[in-house]
Amino acid sequence: MSITLRVNGNTRTVDVDPSTPLLYILRNDLGLEGPRFGCGLGQCGACTVIINGAAVRSCVTPCSAVKGEITTLEGLSKDGALHPIQQAWIDEQVPQCGYCQNGQMLTAKVLLDRNPNPSDADIRKFMAGTLCRCMTYYRIQAAIRRAATAMKTADTASNEGVVA
């Protein structure tokens, strides 16, 4: 069956069984390996993508059920510039092995898009289902706070630009 997906601003069509989880199409047909296989059960978050502003576990999402624009880790940067979350991840030197960090960053993006000024408790709660077996949680939380500050500063700067 022909399935058409909108991914990172591009429209892609693949011929697959409609029950195929989105993860395998992204990785194996579209060459987008940001999302990773961790559990296939929707429990760990390594496969996370963003659809309609929500963090979605692509390993348990049939491709035929996807209606909106998909953003993967590869689509987070814009015009070659890293997203403030990605920059914060570098500044804080967050990853160890890095395998889960796709889910960490994309879940953090959804958090900050919804709540630009999260408390420490907000961060813990929102991120709780995204697992890291190198246990970089402490540094991820520091990076989220750093990114939140950077995004607010960027917003202020762009608003000032509009006023001027």
């Binding site: 559990c39 697992l131 077996r133």
Partner: protein, 792 residues
């Protein structure tokens, strides 16, 4: 001895083949990583080598470590590519190697590139393991870099007609000291050409030229907080992982495991999957079964749908996790260590004013990597190329060659990054499976384990039961200490052995005898006049084809043994009504006849540094029990691991109504000698302490009498964001008692920090509540039950 062939070779082939178009796109767009990853301009001999045959055609002999060219290539633009036989599981090993090698070579860090662990183009340093990258393998890497610098200075001396001693070198540019207008770059001297310099050394660890290493004071890049070079590509999604390795014609496989441990395959009903889309074949041999399909999701479905009949074993393979510790205590050991006796413990116990005795218990814990095992193997041209995150890629090559009965130079392993290894990939089951299936099918095969399969069947850290006894004199001094540890570690898995990896076991292949396994004693520098230490190994009923097969789990045995020993030291301190830090300091400064003064002095320095950073106020534990719902306390633990010293202090909040434990603050004092990259080290310590915390609070392999029942993230919980401490403080200590010595060597740091965490937390819980937890993990229900039993 290895034959020197065309080395280094096929680099461009490797980059093209591994990384494809997106690698090239990435190199165009990412300034930082162009420097970090590209092999820059290929040396002429590399191009020549690649042109000699079809790309990747083989054979793939090992690289001769006694040739300077095997380690370092200087390009025409004065950049350098380093080739080392280590792998990096995300602890910054590669960055540290570049720092040290650039320092010795006198090259700017950002002019270097490092290639790791690819068996056909990098020297065989065994990959990673044992936290030995900096402690052992960095030395030959430093020496060859120093030798390259020496040779370059000689070339410049010949060019300018002055002695090498009259030249200066800075960041890849050599000048005549007396006339700086006379200058030449490394690239001009040797760019793209071979050094053709032979090295010496009985083995790879001893590899050396004639150049001397720089004294520590002259190392300028070493010690800097440089960002790890691998992180940007992990953050922007451009890194190509072993899990994403693809070649044309590749197909997908999934394993079908016995539903019950020790089960025997009776029959396979292939018709149950034959009509499925993309189905290629069921492959089975002995009790090993896999399904191969064109697409990944097809293979997953076919493996789930395949009807297989299994025969349960005649007797139950396991005692069940609820009966584990009584089973361990009552089992007949398969092996025992020779008792390690100091002084006369029996007489000392007889004369002690107080004797206390405690038993501790620690469960099996799995690796449960965030990404299950995976590999891809290509059997083209009668060779076997395996793309793998095996931390010991060279061992995988050798093991697969033996397993498939292929000449070893027909096999190569291309190491790429993967989910945390921490011992799991020291015996890379998926690499063997992919290679076997690729040969059976005659096409490149990618295999990945599923979550339930991984959590059930990955290798486990051994379960332990302990008995400790200690004697105090009337003044509260420790006069006798006895340790008895017993580990379920019979038939501990070897490294990539063709007769012990899971696929081999399931096929019925067996070595002459099961591996003995090991149980160990605590590692600390306490001076106790009378000691007895004994350790036994016991076996579960099922020895082979077991999901409870033990293997090296990050800091093998360390967290188990030091949970018991450092908790017990705290029990002794409490019995002596002594402050836990002061009590340990006294044990470290006590009169002793051994020669451990250097290690003891460093242990003291680390303990003092941790106490100071924490703001430790001396008093005995427990403190007066509070009245509110949340009880707080602090606990300390110390250990020693192969020259590295760790002290951790945990501050906990225990909810007496729910039993929930939150470690709100962790403090770590760490002495691993010379620190190559403080920021990289601090990140490793943060993660590793929390890894120890996960094992202390959550992790336990559960099993009934026939199978593992903790198989996913619900049944096998792990630390989450909710558990992260509010604050982690780290102090990197140089506790060398010889103030005149410039700095210690670089010791290991990848594993030690998870070792004392469980004890520090248990000791803090005791401080807060007066309740001693003697069994890991400290899940809410267990803590609550202990609090209720003690009427806290």
């Amino acid at each position: 001895m290895t034959t020197f062939t065309t080395v280094p070779r096929q680099i461009e082939d490797a980059l093209e083949r591994c990384h494809g178009a997106s690698r090239r796109d990435f190199l165009r767009t990412s300034g930082l990583l162009v420097v970090s990853f590209t092999a820059a301009a290929l040396a002429p001999f590399e191009v020549e080598a690649a042109a000699q045959g079809a790309p990747g055609a083989g054979p793939y002999p090992l690289v001769d470590f006694r040739q300077l060219d095997s380690w370092i290539v200087i390009h025409e633009d004065s950049t350098a590519t380093f080739y080392v036989g280590k792998t990096d599981g995300g602890q910054g090993t590669g960055t540290a190697f570049r720092q040290l090698m650039c320092d010795e070579l006198d090259l700017a860090y950002d002019k270097s590139t490092l290639i790791m662990g690819r068996t056909d183009i990098t020297v065989d340093q065994g990959g990673s393991g044992g936290s030995d990258a900096l402690q052992v393998d960095a030395w030959p890497a430093r020496r060859v870099a120093a030798e390259a610098r020496r040779v370059l200075l000689e070339l410049a001396a010949a060019r300018f007609g002055v002695p090498a001693g009259e030249l200066s070198v800075r960041e890849g540019v050599i000048t005549v000291s007396a006339d700086p207008s006379k200058r030449v770059t490394y690239g001009e001297l040797i760019g793209g050409r071979r050094f053709n310099v032979a090295l010496t050394g009985q083995n790879i660890d001893a590899t050396t030229g004639v150049a001397k290493l720089k004294p520590v004071q002259e190392l300028k890049i070493t010690g800097q907080r440089l960002h790890r070079y691998d992180i940007p590509a992990k953050v922007d999604g451009s890194l190509k992982w072993a899990s994403g390795a693809k070649v044309p014609g590749m197909v997908h496989a999934r394993n079908v495991r016995p539903p019950v441990a020790g089960a025997t395959l009776v029959s396979i009903d292939e018709s149950s999957v034959k009509g499925l889309p993309g189905f290629i074949r069921v492959v089975s041999r002995g009790n090993y079964v896999a399904v191969v399909c064109e697409r990944e999701e097809q293979a997953i479905r076919a493996a789930q749908q395949l009807k297989v009949q299994w025969q349960k074993p005649a007797t139950p393979p396991f005692p069940g996790s609820d009966n584990l510790y009584s089973y361990i205590r009552n089992a007949t050991p398969t092996s025992s260590s020779k008792p390690d006796i100091v002084g006369n413990p029996d007489a000392a116990f007889a004369g002690a004013a107080t004797v206390i005795e405690s038993e501790y218990e620690h469960p099996f814990q799995g690796h449960t990597a965030i990404g299950p095992a995976h590999a891809m193997a290509d059997p083209s041209n009668g060779q076997m190329t395996i793309w793998s995150n095996d931390m010991k890629s060279y061992g995988l090559r050798l093991g697969v060659a033996k397993f498939l009965d292929m000449p070893v130079d027909r096999v190569r392993v291309i190491w790429m990054e993967g989910p945390q290894l921490y011992g799991r990939t020291a015996a890379d089951d998926a690499g063997f499976e992919a290679a076997f299936l690729a040969r059976e099918i005659g096409r490149p095969v990618r295999v990945q384990w599923m979550r339930l399969e991984e959590t059930a069947w990955d290798t486990k850290g051994p379960a332990y039961a302990f008995k400790l006894r200690g004697g105090l004199d009337a003044q509260g001094n420790v006069v006798a200490l006895e340790y008895h540890g017993r580990a379920v570690d019979h038939n501990h898995l070897g490294y990539n052995e063709p007769d012990t990896v899971l696929i081999a076991q399931l096929m019925g292949i067996r070595p002459a005898a099961p591996a003995t396994g090991g149980a160990v004693a605590p590692s600390e520098m306490y001076a106790v006049p009378n000691r007895r230490r004994v350790a036994d190994v016991v076996s579960l009923p099922l020895v082979w084809e077991s999901p409870l097969r033990t293997g090296n789990l990050r800091d093998p045995n360390g967290p188990q043994v030091h949970f018991a020993s450092e908790s017990f030291i705290d029990e002794l301190a409490a019995a002596a009504k002594a402050d836990p830090v002061a009590f340990r300091l006294k044990l470290l400064t006590a009169e002793t006849r051994d020669d451990s003064a250097f290690r003891r002095a460093r242990s003291i320095a680390a303990l003092k540094a941790a106490a100071e950073l924490y703001g430790w106020d001396p008093r005995p534990s427990p403190k007066p029990i509070g009245t509110g719902a949340l009880l707080t306390g602090r606990g300390v633990a110390y250990c020693y691991r192969n020259q590295t010293i760790v002290v951790e202090i945990a501050e906990v909040e225990v909810n007496r109504e729910t039993g929930h434990v939150w470690v709100k603050r962790l403090v770590c004092a760490h002495d691993c000698g010379l620190v190559v990259n403080p920021e990289g080290l601090e990140r490793v310590l943060e993660g590793n302490m929390l890894y120890g915390l996960s094992r202390a609070l959550h992790e336990e392999v559960r099993f009934d009498t026939e199978k593992v029942t903790s198989v996913d993230w619900t049944t096998h919980p792990t630390l989450t964001h909710l558990d992260a401490p509010a604050k982690i403080d780290i102090v990197l200590v140089n506790g060398d008692p010889d103030a005149k010595r410039p700095d210690l060597p670089h010791y290991g740091a990848g594993e030690a920090a998870c070792r004392p965490t469980a004890a520090a937390v248990a000791n803090a819980i005791f401080d807060a509540t007066g309740v001693r937890l003697r069994r890991v993990p400290f899940r809410d229900a267990r803590v609550l039950a202990a609090l209720k039993a003690a009427r806290v």
